[in-house]
Symmetry: C2
Subunit: 214 residues, 2 copies
């Protein structure tokens, strides 16, 4: 099999890539990285990602890391597979790029802090939740979601009228946060709430969860 | 004039866009945003960027924000102007995308904290430098720059063999940090140091500084 994803099911960045591959109807091998035994901090993993983070990705002789670089590669290279995850019109693509950056620069730093504090940290026994960090992150994320609520009056999805990488990049953190008290941030905004329900129900996302949680 | 950049010279994100336009030999109008009087927090600016941040960008009827979305739009739309800032080969473009993400996700959060603490905060009288934040950011940035040092043994520039958006996105923070004690982080790594000297000496960067500091 030509495509390999090295990662762990609990990693939002790993799930971002897995979900993208399934949306694009691409076969791949999932290679579990034994992070508990620090496999990611040693060679050969470091030759796949010098930052010692999952996921790493291989497509034949091409080796990539950084989940959003990987999904962009998949969306462009396998444009004719599965559904289109990028837009063809240059102006629409530029608008979509704005919201790709908003996810990476504004949503992810806050959502990933909440996912860490409320989900991952307690789950892997790394100590108790820091309530100050949660409170501050929730306050800041509320402001971002207010802007999402307005944006979703203009288009059905965040990047445009169809589901794209922008929405896909959000799914893993939202999935985790839906099982926490931070769910209220999403539920209290009608358009954001409907958008979350829509993207979390995507068959590719559910298939990815099933595949990795086996 | 069709292209407008709304921003302030001190903003690294504004300078990123200005430098890109000059690399691409594009004329533009610079619109100063009176942030001291909170112009960015009011309409009509909020209709250009709902996050109330500079820069905002207009190209005819297209309105964009998020500096890295803007530079990508410019590089793709005006591909035949000035120098090429993206790579044509899909695999090389994928590698370049990795380092675009590394800049946005790994370099920027640390470099912008240092730029804020060591340059902007003292300059605009927002209080004294927080030495703990500086120390922690410097330690983390050192690790990123170690990886850059290795990467620069593989290619002349961070994204590949030619100067691209990857390098351009780094310039504004590096420019500010070269006047601070954080300069030592860059100077102590020979390849990083040579790369910094190269990209800071680009005529487009210097022309941008001159244009905005008038």
């Amino acid at each position: 099999m030509a495509i390999k994803v090295h990662g762990i099911p609990l990693s939002t960045a790993t799930m971002r890539v897995v979900s993208c591959l399934i949306e694009k109807d691409l076969d791949f091998e999932f290679v579990f990285v034994d992070m508990a035994n620090e496999e990611h901090k040693k060679h050969p993993f470091l030759s796949l990602n010098p930052f010692a983070q999952v996921p790493a990705f291989e497509d034949g002789d091409l080796k990539l890391f950084e989940s959003r670089a990987i999904t962009q590669y998949i969306a462009h290279t396998y444009a004719s597979n599965g559904i289109q995850l990028i837009l063809q019109d240059p102006k629409k693509m530029a608008i979509m790029s704005i919201w790709m950056e908003v996810e990476g620069q504004k949503f992810e730093p806050l959502a990933s802090k909440l996912t860490w504090e409320l989900v991952i940290k307690p789950m892997i026994g790394m100590g108790s939740t820091n309530d100050d960090i949660v409170k501050e992150s929730e306050e800041q994320l509320s402001k971002v979601l207010d802007i999402y609520e307005t944006r979703l009056t203009e288009s059905k999805y965040l990047g445009g009228d169809s589901f794209t990488l922008v929405d896909l990049h959000h799914i893993p953190n939202i999935y985790h946060l839906m099982n926490t008290k931070a769910k209220a941030l999403f539920d209290s905004r009608p358009r954001v709430s409907a958008w979350c329900a829509d993207i979390l129900a995507r068959p590719a996302w559910m298939k990815g969860l099933e595949k990795l949680q086996k």
